[in-house]
Symmetry: C2
Subunit: 468 residues, 2 copies
Amino acid sequence: MLTLAFSPSGQEPLYQQLYHHIRDEIQAGRLAAGERLPSKRQLARQLKLSVVTIEGAYSQLVTEGYLESRDRKGYFVLPVRWERTTPSPQAAPDIPPLPEERGRFRYDFATSGSDAESFPFATWAKLSREVLSSRDQALLSAAHPQGVPELREAIAHHLYQFRGILVSPEQIIVGAGSEFLSTLLVQLLGPQGGYALEDPGYRKIARIFSASGAQVIPIPLDAHGLRADRLAESGARIVHITPSHHFPLGTVMPVSRRRELLEWAGEREDRYLIEDDYDSEFRFTGRPIPALQGLDRAEKVIYLNTFAKSLAPSLRIGYMVLPPSLLRRYRQELLFYSSTVPSFEQYTLALFMERGHMERHIARTRNRYQQRLAALRQAVRETGLDRFCTLSGGESGLHLLMTVRSPLSQDELTRRAAEAGIRLYPLASYYLCEPHKRAASTFVMGYGKLTETDLQDAFQSLAKIWSF
Amino acid sequence: MLTLAFSPSGQEPLYQQLYHHIRDEIQAGRLAAGERLPSKRQLARQLKLSVVTIEGAYSQLVTEGYLESRDRKGYFVLPVRWERTTPSPQAAPDIPPLPEERGRFRYDFATSGSDAESFPFATWAKLSREVLSSRDQALLSAAHPQGVPELREAIAHHLYQFRGILVSPEQIIVGAGSEFLSTLLVQLLGPQGGYALEDPGYRKIARIFSASGAQVIPIPLDAHGLRADRLAESGARIVHITPSHHFPLGTVMPVSRRRELLEWAGEREDRYLIEDDYDSEFRFTGRPIPALQGLDRAEKVIYLNTFAKSLAPSLRIGYMVLPPSLLRRYRQELLFYSSTVPSFEQYTLALFMERGHMERHIARTRNRYQQRLAALRQAVRETGLDRFCTLSGGESGLHLLMTVRSPLSQDELTRRAAEAGIRLYPLASYYLCEPHKRAASTFVMGYGKLTETDLQDAFQSLAKIWSF
């Protein structure tokens, strides 16, 4: 039998100190496998501690598998098969944080994000408080896996009003952003067969499909959008498109091409079209372009949208509308997934929509963006940039294209802009394959986050540094 | 040249009515491909409308691809290649909502969910208001893709305090629940090779891995947990385990088995262990079982946890801790994913943790659950159920096992309970393969959502309907 040397100290409870001490002895091999420990009573006498303290330490060591209690025989050290080669860490690993991109540029023409200032924060906060004080139990129980019914009702109504499409709230699945929903779609549709994407297009979607295990097939565009004639030979089974406002070219897909795509999808049962309607709310001329979903008679279109553009990207609320046959499959195979959006945000957004705030907010921001677009065009004219810069694709959405005819290379144009604190995004970087020659020295200019003064200032700088 | 018959009516703007009218004529084939439309001026005269109205309708039709504008020649109908076979839908599809499970049972012994009543709602609401009034800009911009730094700091501190593990906030990735994070893990680790799971175990994780494209390999358990000796022959590459409190058996994995698993993982570079620490906060006797992560010296353990149990399932905030080498891979390959949790919830939870509310809440609920556990045990004794019912696995977590020795079959026991409004979950249903014979007539009893009175009442009913 072994004698344990132990002197309690510090603020830890005694039984814990004793537990640590014995554990360290076992781990260090000073208490070997098979050795018998003093009985609880003996050790209590020896260390002048209570039997309860010893019992606490012993039973913890038994639970964790360091000791074994044999009936009427006492406590024995169990074999610790694996010698530690390195000591316990004394500190967390030292990992540098990600480099901070923000602040490096005065003006950033990124297409992501929206104008946070225009967000009706006071209204949102008021509704949040209302939800907090009226919905306590509902906020705590798990939400409906497709999203809370109130929000799905509001979205169905919104889709009818803004996109002219008639869907049942039961077809809607609310999720933590369109990125998450795209991953979920690969799970629903299966990764097999190819996922065709517009090239150029939204690069992130290629990464998401690819990370989800699907093979990505870039399909080139013509003036009408994704070339339907290339689909058959590509072997693709699923097509992701932005028909109402191509990202980033701004093309509207005409009805003839839409029908070609629907025909292609109709040829085989497992073909589907994913309609990403990411910024359809912001069309400045004429009425909104009807959604592809509204033309679909064969349950081939999955409609995908998000509130990141119309409200705030930090909200992380997206949704998709499944045709009835896919909804059945979803309910059979994927309904086990819990809703990924906190109930709180769902109820607040539902109220926001029900009470007409969304409608007013969209009208207000559309105006605001239209003014910015006008300011951008004006700045290009007034700075004389229009002599060698052409704008296109600005009828809708929060970005347009600017093509620069200059002896300076695209890299040089980008570099000079960066030096002046202006971040630009060459169209070429939106291509998966070799960029089309028209992409040379064309930039995708997202202006949603820049004020009119920002735009004037930025284009004045560009005019200066790009002069030749 | 064609004459258009059109009489405006209703509340729609005139140009929209005209647009609809012409579109319908084209779709119905009454305006054939190639036909030339009246000039804007002619039509304006003919219909007694302004030229601007005609222009609005024509340009919308051009944008959508129904008309083509040929320079100096006028507007021509474009070929609509695809005849509609069915008319536009007049109503959304009629889809029945999911059947409502709630309300069918008086008492539900599900292990999911927690006691919503104990959630410190007033405190949470107060902090929410504070966040709303102090953080407006931060709430609107996109959160750090790994989660807002304040929350990751708080989680690192929490892990040190409650689980004794030292991690850097940079290693933490916050996400919309552990289900979403598990999907993300398959993307990070790759679907190839097998994903080994405890059998019996948490059935949902099998569905998630499987839906994410991974092959699921059920591994049987012995008294120490997942049988490490079966791993080599199984061909598995990744192992998902609940070492601190096996779900649903309640086993604590002893240190020897933990080391066997770490050794197995150390044998090949692409092997990893996913430690799901789902309810480690609620251990009632002794100190918390140390996390497996703390024993890991070879960067083999991914630690996964959620606030669904300790706070509320509707919050949808989970997190994982990646070892540094996997973090590097994550940052290279998956950092493009936006954070899936709204910034608002992240800031509120960070404040809740920073100010010690989490600690107090866990202490309070641990007490509360311990009382419920005591009430459950007492109810089994007082109703005489203890003559043929044995409880086990209740040292920790919010569920235990109840084995019933009865001439009634398990199905009959379950059926009778359901008739009395009590929902029970046979242990056999947690198996992926053939259930172990010990699973017969054993039920997994989650008591987290039932009050002491509920428990008394439920067991009184069971005693009556199970008598033989």
